[in-house]
């Protein structure tokens, strides 16, 4: 068991490199994929995205040679894929397709065990690996091992498909619209589960989708392809949204690309504003003085004895003498967490009167404030591209 555990936890993908790869069907004039070069670092998710006919699926299938390139070279950790027999190559690359393609006549355990059997693993090793993988994808092995695919829901089948692709611990996985056949709510959950899984297994993943939102969510890097298999842009999601390389990319990512960037950043990425805190029961005069001492802030935040926010309070509310009662606050301060996306934070702030968000920790204690302005500033800050350089927003990567 310990050996297998160490195999599955052996974080690590392989570098996948495409060098001037071209695919031409028959004697058609226009190639399906045209002189495509890109390098996918080990352990990253690269999403190939583009309109239909852009050659994204063709590109992916050339990596495991379901389609043979007509020109160029594809290497995995430096090894040319054409130098291996195709079936051997494919056994080392996990493969997940949209319809999952589970074998209906095999039980879940036997489906997951297909590649290990081809590799002639021992029976004990296969059994242990199957149980381990089913647990990894959140299916109870005792309940699912002996079932047939027909008895599973769409989401469960999808998870088995992922477990099956991971069975022989391949360094590279190819995923062709893996969540395309699942309804939107389940898709979101499967995507999150998959990202958690990937943070543990760290495979190099080539992921094909036509859905730009899915690409932004899943990708470390996005390769946007346009018709004819031409690489329009290859960069981090944030860099693509901030600086689309061409009018095509700009149209493809959508007019709301600013809002989409907000989904990529989190409240913890912002510099928080320090609030003026007034404790319930504090003397009004002291509170007034502290509020007056701060420039640019007209509201203090009233908190209870556990530092949980009660609401906003202004100089007028603090007039007079005596302690500040809890009722003095105007309730309705929206709370956000450090893990909230800027999109959610902005949405919460726009809905409240003061347009400030209260950032709270897991015990609901105040740790700072965010403002609509700060979110806007974050969008205007220079963006780190996949190559590590910082570039101002709005400047095209290719000039």
């Amino acid at each position: 068991m310990s050996i297998i555990r160490s195999v599955s936890s052996s974080a690590g993908g392989a570098v996948v490199a495409l060098e001037h790869v071209t695919k031409r069907y028959g004697d058609a004039d226009a190639p399906a994929v045209d002189d495509l070069s890109l390098t996918i670092p080990a352990g990253e998710i690269c999403v190939l995205v583009g309109p239909s006919g852009c050659g994204k699926t063709t590109t992916m299938k050339m990596i495991n040679r379901l389609i043979e390139p007509t020109g160029g070279r594809i290497t995995i950790d430096g090894v040319d894929v054409m130098s291996l027999p195709a079936v051997e190559l494919r056994r080392r690359i996990g493969y997940v397709i949209q319809q999952v393609g589970l074998f209906p006549h095999l039980t879940i355990a036997d489906n997951v065990a297909v590649v290990p059997r081809l590799l002639r693993w021992s029976g004990t090793r296969i059994r242990e690996r199957v149980d381990e993988l089913l647990e990894l994808v959140g299916l109870d092995p005792a309940a699912y091992r002996g079932r047939y695919p027909a008895a599973l829901s769409g989401g469960e089948r999808q998870r088995v498909g992922v477990a099956r692709a991971l069975a022989a611990d391949p360094p590279v996985m190819l995923m062709d619209e893996p969540f395309g056949a699942v309804d939107p709510i389940r898709r979101d959950r499967l995507q999150n589960e998959f990202l958690r899984l990937q943070s543990r297994v760290r495979k190099t993943i080539v992921f094909v989708t036509h859905d730009v939102d899915e690409a932004i969510k899943m990708a470390d890097r996005i390769a946007i392809l346009q018709r004819g298999g031409i690489l329009a842009q290859y960069d981090s999601p944030d860099a693509i949204l901030a600086n689309p390389a061409s009018p095509f990319v700009e149209r493809f990512v959508g007019a709301d690309r600013g809002l989409k960037r907000l989904s990529l950043a989190r409240v913890r990425d912002l510099e928080l504003i320090e609030p003026v805190i007034v404790r319930e029961g504090e003397l009004r005069a002291e509170a007034r003085a502290r509020l007056a001492a701060r420039d640019g802030i007209d509201y203090a935040l009233l908190v209870d004895d556990r530092e949980r926010p009660l609401g906003w309070i202004d100089a007028g509310d603090l007039a007079g003498e005596g302690p500040v009662p809890a009722e003095a606050a105007t309730p309705g301060a929206p709370t956000v967490e450090p893990e909230s996306t800027l999109r959610d934070a902005l949405s919460a702030m726009l809905g409240s009167s003061v347009q400030l968000g209260v950032v709270v920790d897991e015990r609901e204690r105040v740790i700072g404030l965010v403002s609509v302005d700060a979110v806007g500033e974050a969008l205007r800050a220079p963006v780190r591209a996949a190559d590590g350089t910082l570039r101002p927003v709005g400047e095209s990567a290719t000039g």
């Binding site: 495991n64 379901l66 195709a86 079936v87 051997e88 190559l89 494919r90 056994r91 080392r92 493969y95 397709i97 949209q98 319809q99 999952v100 393609g101 589970l102 074998f103 209906p104 006549h105 095999l106 039980t107 297909v114 590649v115 081809l118 079932r147 047939y148 695919p149 027909a150 008895a151 099956r164 190819l174």
Partner: protein, 221 residues
């Protein structure tokens, strides 16, 4: 002869050994015909899988064979192969081809494209894909064809009594119709029908046994 009873059960008791022999002959002739038919059909179906253009011609030829009346087929074959078991089996086998080839091809073609793609993408060889994935998935359709072919053959075997074979057909035609002896006819017919029903049920049982997943599918719907 005219005053003999319509049905004489004691004849059955007196001739159990002959009846048993004919029944056994019937089973053998059916098994050979369906067995050889299955082998030939498999070969043809695999040929079609490789060269899909052959589907039309092969189905056309087996369809023509199927359409030739059995008497006419015997008339054509007897000058070549004589009044032999070979003559009977050639005819019987050729009648199974249309059904079997069509069902094997339909079964293999019924395996959905994404399953084939998943199998190929996971690194199964062409042969492994056929044996481990496509044939098992095609099995219900193939066995459905086998059931029809078997029941049809059990009926057709009786006709080969005309060339001196026939299994239970011997009881129906030679001792029955030719000698105006109804008891023999009924015995032969009843046993042939019983044999067909039993063979059909046995194959159905075999299919259930070999494809438990097919029931999981219908149960889940």
């Amino acid at each position: 002869m005219d005053d003999q009873p319509f049905f004489r059960p004691e004849w059955i008791g007196d001739n159990l050994d002959v009846i048993g022999l004919r029944l056994w002959e019937h089973v053998q002739m059916t098994a050979i015909a369906v067995g050889v038919g299955l082998l030939v059909s498999f070969a043809l179906a695999l040929l079609i899988r490789r060269v899909p253009a052959l589907y039309g011609p092969i189905i056309g030829i087996s369809g023509t064979l199927y359409a030739i009346p059995s008497l006419a087929l015997f008339a054509l074959l007897v000058p070549v192969t004589g009044l032999s078991l070979v003559t009977a089996e050639i005819a019987l086998v050729s009648y199974t081809l249309l059904i079997l080839v069509r069902n094997i091809v339909a079964g293999l073609r019924g395996v959905s494209a994404d399953i084939v793609e998943a199998a190929t993408g996971m690194g199964l060889t062409e042969r492994q894909r056929l044996l481990r994935i496509e044939l098992p998935i095609a099995l219900p359709v193939i066995i459905a064809g086998l059931r029809i072919a078997t029941v049809t053959t059990i009926g057709l075997v009786t006709v080969t009594a005309l060339i001196g074979r026939g299994g239970l057909g011997y009881l129906i035609i030679n001792t029955g119709i030719n000698r105006f002896f109804p008891t023999s006819i009924y015995t032969g017919v009843a046993l042939a029908v019983a044999l067909a029903v039993l063979a059909d049920l046995a194959l159905l049982g075999l299919q259930r046994l070999l494809t438990p997943w097919a029931r999981a599918r219908s149960a889940s719907v």
